[in-house]
Symmetry: C2
Subunit: 417 residues, 2 copies
């Protein structure tokens, strides 16, 4: 590699990391996806991970899509939904092609209300749907859809009224505090969820949300420990997108999985996906489920690791170990290990258990391939078949192949040997 090109790469990666550090995610609205996500077309379902069609979708994502067709009223029954899907009447596109992300199956349709995050430093917007433990895991039962309906009809509108009352909510202070309260903001966003619930209660009261809806929404927020995951994902997407399309940069701007394939995108390589088969997840199962039930790695939530949260911040979140297994020492070592494959550390997001060191930011494809250290990702477990809620949680590492492919394309594009 010529010396001046190496210098170009370093400069570009510094710029990518600088943009991630400078990002300022603010929750500016909560709105129906069809009204705010660019490029939504009729009968379109957005999904997690790199592109995939109905035939190649994993069981959980298929189940989640069936759920969305029922939720939208595009089908009246599971069988009718499957017929519509097999007829090719539904268009699928990745969330990431629409400035969006979604947890697990990640399914977003026009009537689904999404968080609207504006990165105030760079002006870009990102979107994410809310987190729940059933439909997004592939459960399309009436019971599973009830929470989607209440979100659409009660909770999301109440939050929107509160947000409009205060003119938006800056999430960086909540994220910084939560990282000092045992959160890694992916499998464990508990503190951030609690802080968010408190931050929104007064605005919703001031906005005059009717008493019944107010009580229902505050109750929902106060009881939903994973609520903030949707907000951290949207914040991470708004953060990572600011670092896209920097020529010469080898920094990863997205890691996403659809349960069939794991894909990454790289700043200096436009928006191309570099994919490999989705890996299995190492984790702990909820009662009644075991390894034989598990689907493969799925979800856009690895956007959190892309900006240094989740598995990268595991050392500060040992409370999560009851969910994913392991020891506090291992958790600390994961966080230190991630510093070896990243460009910088955050001056604002600091981990007390690591002596207030900052979170590791900006995964460098070169460092991953050179060291063979793969990003550590916290994740949940979905069933391999449609129709089930969450079955467990664990840790996963992406396939090295994604990073090798990206580096090969990089060499090709920039004329390196």
């Amino acid at each position: 590699m010529a010396k001046d090109i190496k210098h170009e790469i370093e400069r570009a990666n510094s710029e990518a990391a600088r943009r991630m550090v400078a990002a300022d995610p603010v929750l500016v609205d909560i709105a129906p996806a069809g009204e705010v996500i660019p490029g939504f077309k009729d009968k379109m379902v957005l999904h997690s991970g790199p592109p995939v069609d109905w035939q190649h979708m994993c069981g959980a994502q298929k189940g989640a899509v069936i759920g969305m067709l029922l939720f939208e009223g595009w089908a009246k029954s599971k069988d009718q939904a499957i017929k519509i899907l097999e007829d090719g009447a539904i268009t699928f596109e990745p969330n990431h092609h629409h400035q969006a992300v979604g947890p697990m199956a990640g399914t977003i349709t026009p009537s689904m209300w999404v968080f609207v995050i504006e990165n105030k430093t760079f002006g870009n917007r990102a979107f994410c749907r809310q987190v729940e433990g059933r439909q997004q895991f592939g459960d399309y039962s009436q019971e599973a859809l009830q929470d989607l309906i209440r979100w659409r009809d009660i909770w999301a509108p109440a939050l929107r009224a509160g947000l409009r009352q205060v003119g938006g909510l800056s999430l960086k202070p909540i994220i910084a505090r939560a990282l000092q309260m045992g959160d890694e903001l992916h499998n464990r966003p508990n503190a951030a969820s609690s802080l968010f619930a408190n931050a929104m209660a007064v605005p919703m009261m001031k906005a005059g949300v009717p008493k019944e809806a107010l009580i229902s929404t505050v109750d929902y927020l106060a009881g939903h420990e994973l609520f903030f995951l949707g907000l951290s994902m949207a914040s991470a997407k708004a953060t990572a997108d600011a670092a896209r399309r920097i020529e010469y940069s080898t920094v990863v701007t997205a890691m996403a999985r659809n349960g069939t394939e794991f894909g990454i995108q790289v700043s200096g390589l436009e928006d191309e996906w570099f994919t490999a088969p989705a890996p299995p997840v190492e984790g702990l199962f909820l009662p009644g489920y075991g390894k034989q039930d598990a689907g493969l790695d799925m979800g856009d939530s690895a956007i959190n690791e892309t900006v240094g949260w989740g598995g990268f911040a595991l050392g500060g979140a040992p409370g999560i170990l009851s969910l994913v297994g392991g020891t506090p020492e291992e958790a600390l070592s994961y966080s230190r290990e991630m510093q070896q494959i990243t460009v910088t550390t955050s001056p604002e997001f600091r981990i007390p258990a690591l002596g207030f060191e900052g979170t590791a930011i900006g995964i460098d494809v070169r460092k991953v391939v050179q060291t063979n250290i793969l990003p550590v990702i916290d994740t949940a477990l979905a069933h391999k078949d449609p129709g089930h809620p969450i079955i467990g949680a664990g840790l996963v590492r992406p396939p090295l192949e994604c990073f090798r492919k990206a580096l090969l394309r990089f060499a090709e594009k920039y004329g390196l040997t």
Copy 2:
């Protein structure tokens, strides 16, 4: 020591620890102290620590007492308050003589609303006043008293209405969760405060608290990271009191300081105080203050360490180190060290950073004297003179003399050599 007496002590200490573990603190009311604290007399001021009179009070406690006389309307000015106090017209008694505790100066007068905690397992009640950063540190300015007035007139009554709506709030689940969210519940009760605010919002709404008071109270709770300290102290008092007066037990049931003396009480030695001069605090100062300004160790808050929180749980709360100094490794070693001077560990209050080990419970006076390991106590710093707000925070260890004196009395009472 005769073998059978040693056996008696072990049995008694196991019982003391069992009672602390079995305690079930429930917030049943918030009410004016004069209505609920037993034995309140006219013109009485309860204070932190062992007994002390006006002449021997430290500067900060004197300032806090002046503040309470102004708050109660017993004096119209600082000078009039001092005259009343020097004339001996005010009766002083320790909070601990009235089933109560108070942070820092710990001053409680009849109009001050206090938390009422009932230990549902044993039926005993305990009381604590709310936490703020000015009056209880000795600041008697009008500004300092404003928060006491708002507490009395708006916030406490609103919370009381919410509590009555739900019939009490069990605090054990909040405490257990907070210990997994980076809290040690003394200098850092941030997560517990946030969870408590979450828990009380809906009950206050359902109770029909008027909108203005509701907004003011939710806003106060959401912004007051130290709020839960008053609740953890009352819970700790209700927990420790259940272990009092067990014959032959060498377990500590109270550690308390008035800024002049440090005192401890021991289960098998009735309610006698074993005192020594209050030690200085090692810590970090707020801007504008330094060592030359610091008063000596003060407050009933060491009741938290008495039941295994605070300094005993420091390993799980490294976020506190920005406030008190030290490294995460030191914090972990403090928590492990405390296991050497205690009877048992909690099966319910577990610290993720310590591999989910339980908090150390039941300080054994014998072990302290034998090992020369003194309890680690998180604390705040008050000024040596009256009239100042909080000036810093740090760590302190009690004088060994308190434990030696207690052990001597124990030998005397139980006829040991």
